[in-house]
Structures are given as C-alpha cells and as structure tokens.
C-alpha cells in the first residue's frame, strides 16, 4: 500500500486537520506516514492544501506532483489538482462548493455534497469530516475505526465536538456505501 494524497480547499475548511488525522491513523497502524502543509504569506484566508502519504514502504519525496488521491473541498482546488491525479487514482469532490463536473475519465470519482451534509448535521465546519469519511470508505488507506478512535485525541479539550464529527465521518462513509 502506498498512498499519496493531496487535500485542498479554502483556509478554514479544516483540510489540514483531516490530513493530519490520516497521518495519525497511519502511524497508529504502523505505516510510514508524513504530512506536509503548503504555506503561504497570508495565513489568513486564501487557499490551503496539504499532502499526506501513507505507505508500507519508507517514504522519500515529501512532495508529489502525481498524487494517487485528491480531496478537493472547493472549485479552485478542483481546477488546480484535477489534472495531477495519477491514472487510476481517486478524486473526492465536495459537490456543495463545486458547480462543475470532473472532466477526467481515467480516475475514480467520489462526488459528495459534504457541506450540505455537514450543514444538515448542524455544523457546516464538519464538511471536512464528511469528505474524510467518504475518502476512507472508498480508499481504505487506514481503517475507519482507527480514525474514530483518534477523535478524542484530536478534539482534546473540545470533547463536545466529538459526536458531531463522528456522525459526519460516518455519514460520509455511508454516502459512499450507498453510491
């Protein structure tokens, strides 16, 4: 198993966080992992993306120009990363903020209305978890339970957020199962 994943969206959509969760989960499963944010001068607003790698083998280059998977949380991110996904790779699209089709025909596509689902669950901010749940369900980079088990650690001090995020993860996964 060797996964190179880019997660991209607006700053504030929590793309860095779900990237870190995958890395933590991979570590918990004794995989080789790394996580790297792309950083800009204006940390406030603007775009955010990160790279996550999870592998059975040692990891070298921390940058990838042909990720095996991509999660895009908004339209500009789709525009930027669609072309880079390697053939046969996966793209997860937050349909709620992307008003166009994915053009590529040679890759697996998961189109999920993450923001809408999160809004329904009561917090638009959980859209990242919906997308994460969908991604993991499809790609199985790490085990779903490993992610769920991470939640107490991730939301330490903000424990009341756990149920919502857990629900969002599950809904994301369910959405994919029902595709």
């Amino acid at each position: 198993m060797h996964e190179e994943l880019i997660i991209a969206g607006f700053g504030g959509q929590g793309v860095l966080l779900i990237g870190q969760m995958i890395a933590y989960a991979g570590l918990a499963e004794n995989k080789h992992v790394l996580w790297m944010p792309a950083y800009g001068p204006e940390t406030r607003g603007g775009f955010a993306n990160c790279t996550v790698m999870v592998s059975d083998k040692e990891l070298y280059s921390p940058v990838t120009t042909s990720p095996s998977s991509v999660i895009v949380m908004n339209l500009p991110s789709l525009d930027k990363f669609e072309r880079s996904v390697e053939e046969g790779g996966l793209i997860v699209v937050n349909k709620s903020l992307v008003n166009r089709e994915v053009f590529r025909g040679d890759i697996d596509k998961v189109v999920v209305p993450a923001t809408e689902i999160a809004t329904e669950l009561g917090n638009v901010k959980a859209a990242n978890m919906v997308a994460l749940g969908a991604y993991i369900e499809r790609r199985k980079t790490v085990k779903f339970e490993t992610l769920i088990n991470l939640l107490p650690k991730i939301f330490k001090g903000k424990e009341k957020l756990i149920p919502l995020n857990e629900k969002a993860l599950i809904q994301g996964a369910e959405f994919v199962k029902n595709l």
Binding site: Q20, V33, Y39, S61, P62
Partner: protein
C-alpha cells in the same frame, strides 16, 4: 525505543534542543520557522528554561554569545535574511570559540525573496558568510527524525570542539510532519572551566575574539585551523543510498532535496539505470571520504534547491576524475522527482 509521535520539523527542533539540555533560546520571529519559537515559548518556562524574543536577529546572536560565555547550552534560530544579519556575530562566536547552535530554516532569496523553501544559503554556511577564516560545523537533516538526532549532535559537537555549529534545514522540512522516536537521550554535558561564572576561588576568566598583535592573531588562526582539521578528520557524516560497487551514476543531494532525489533514484533503478545517491549529512566538514573510491561510476549529478552551490564542493573532491553535472531550481521552486529522474536519464548519453 520510545513510542513514535508525529511532529512538525520546526517543533522537533525545539523538542530536541530541550532534550539535549538546552535551556536558553534567544531568537527573533521570521517565517518559515515560527513554530519553533512558539513551541519554545510554551515549553521553556515549564522546564525552568529561558525563552527570550530579542529585538532583532543581531541582538539574538549576541545574547547567544553572552549565554555561551556563561557556559550554558544555547540556541538561536532564524531564516535566511535573519541569518545574514547574524554573520558578524557568528564570526565572533567562531573567533571566541564559543559552542552554540544556530538554526537556519532556509527560505528563498536573495533579498526579502519569498518564504518558500530553498537551499541557497549553503555557501553562506560552509564557506563563511562572515569575515575571517573560520568554519561552522554544518548539519543538514533530511527527516524529522534526523532533525531530532542532528540537533542533539549539533550541541554535542559544538561543545566537544568549542565552536559554533549551524543547523541548516529548509522551510519544507520545517513544515513537514513525520513520526519521530525521541528515545532515551543523555547528552554528556562537558565541564566548561573557561566559562564566565564569577571568579570565586579561581583566577579571572576572559572570553574575547580580539588579538591585536598579528603574531598572536596568526597563532590563534592556526589553532583554529588545527581544530578544523581535527573536525574534518573525525566528523564527516553522510548516507549512501544504493551506492555500491556497481553503481554507474551517482546523485549527490542533501536535506529535503535528497528525499526527492531518492525517489528519483528508485524510479531510475526500476528503469534499470544503475543510479545511486550520496547524501551529505555534514555539509562542513564536507564528506570527502564518501568519494574516496568512485569505482564503476560514470557520472555524477548534483541536485540542489538553488542555482549551484554544493556542486562546487563535489567538484573539488572529485577533482576532474569524472564529470560532475548540476541541476537545480531556485526561488522556492525545487526539482521534482520527475525532473530529477529526467536528469538522471540524461546522464546516460
């Protein structure tokens, strides 16, 4: 072996420093190393240490000079423009033979440049950005785990040789998060009878870098050179990656760039190209011993995140024995795995 934890490169610098017994940090904010001071601002008070934000990089390096005079393990950190400002201070530290660790999490220049990663301060670190004949032990990590290891090593070597050491990372490594094993680490803190502590029960101590009489100044310089020769003999460190008796092509790269180059070497091997890699870990002393036998090699490719700096040291050690080519990108851009692979393929012609 302890438990592995995920850590950002910049935070790992801080954690490793504390674990190496460093309780004094003086610095001035600059991107892309800001997580380090933030980390130490939180941590130092908890371990009885000192975190002080100086009014400038110049003040910071001179506070470091003072703390080193007083005999404690001390560190400062900055990024490229800030490190340029420290050059006078670094030359003073070398002249006064003070053990300190200076971190440069490089960004791209020249000038204000951009905050994206770069390796363009190689020359500054290894040839001497400051004035006079001096050298800095210069360590280049390639993973977050190695950040931990080399920060500790940096303090130990600085103390051992009574000389400033430079920890030369780049913005990519600073931001990278990887699992690390902090392990059990016990640094042997050397006695420093020369340190300033008040002259109770002994003759006065003096720390200075002035030798106004040229005969004395030359003697001091020769002493420094002897020390540097000793370091060169003992402390060369590098990693061989698929570098064996059959290798035909050798890539030389350090730090983050070596990570990318390794991926390219693996792909080249998959294509049947007998590629290999040497990754200098000590940039100074440059690991000349790594190149002692070039065996079956046909060509060398040096890859850097700059316009060609370490390539000169490779050429100096290869001294015309085989061709040395260069590939680099600058300004926060860096050679990709594909580009590097392309250059390796190009060596065959």
């Amino acid at each position: 072996m302890g438990e592995k934890v995920l850590m950002k490169g910049n935070e790992a610098i801080g954690e490793a420093a504390v674990s190496a017994g460093c309780r004094h940090f003086f610095g001035y904010p600059i991107t892309p190393q800001s997580e380090l001071p933030a980390y130490l601002a939180k941590k130092m008070p908890l371990v009885g240490g000192v975190f002080l934000q100086a009014e400038s990089e110049i003040s910071a390096i001179n506070m470091v000079y003072g703390a080193a005079c007083a005999g404690v393990r001390v560190m400062t950190s900055s990024s490229s423009p800030g490190v340029s400002l420290k050059q006078e201070g670094i030359s003073y530290l070398a002249g006064a033979e003070l053990p300190v660790l200076v971190c440069n999490v490089q960004r791209a220049g020249p000038g204000l440049g951009t905050i994206q990663p770069s390796q363009a301060d190689y020359f500054q670190a290894v040839k001497g950005g400051g004035h006079g004949d001096y050298r800095l032990i210069t360590l280049s990590p390639s993973s977050v785990q190695e950040i931990i290891d080399l920060i500790r090593l940096g303090f130990d070597l600085a103390d051992k040789y009574k000389t400033p050491a430079m920890f030369l990372a780049d913005g990519m490594l600073g931001q990278l998060m990887e699992p690390v094993d902090l392990g059990e680490y016990k640094s042997e803190i050397k006695e420093k009878p020369w340190a300033l502590s008040g002259c109770e029960g002994r003759a006065k101590n003096t720390v200075t870098s002035i030798w106004i009489n040229p005969e004395e100044m030359e003697r001091h310089n020769i002493h420094l050179q002897e020390k540097y020769a000793e370091i060169k003999k003992n402390e060369q460190r590098w990693e061989n990656f698929h570098f064996d008796d059959e290798a035909e092509f050798l890539v030389v790269a350090h730090g983050s760039m070596a990570r990318i180059a390794k991926s390219a070497v693996i792909k080249a091997r998959e294509e049947g190209i007998k590629a290999s890699l040497i990754r200098p870990i000590t940039l100074w002393p440059f690991p000349e011993n790594a190149f002692s036998s070039l065996k079956s090699l046909k060509k060398i490719l040096v890859v850097e995140m700059n316009m060609g700096q370490m390539v000169e040291d490779v050429r100096l050690v290869v001294n015309g024995r085989i061709p040395v080519e260069f590939f680099g990108r600058a300004g926060g851009m860096f050679p990709t795995v594909e580009q590097t692979l392309g250059k390796i393929r190009g060596l065959i012609k």
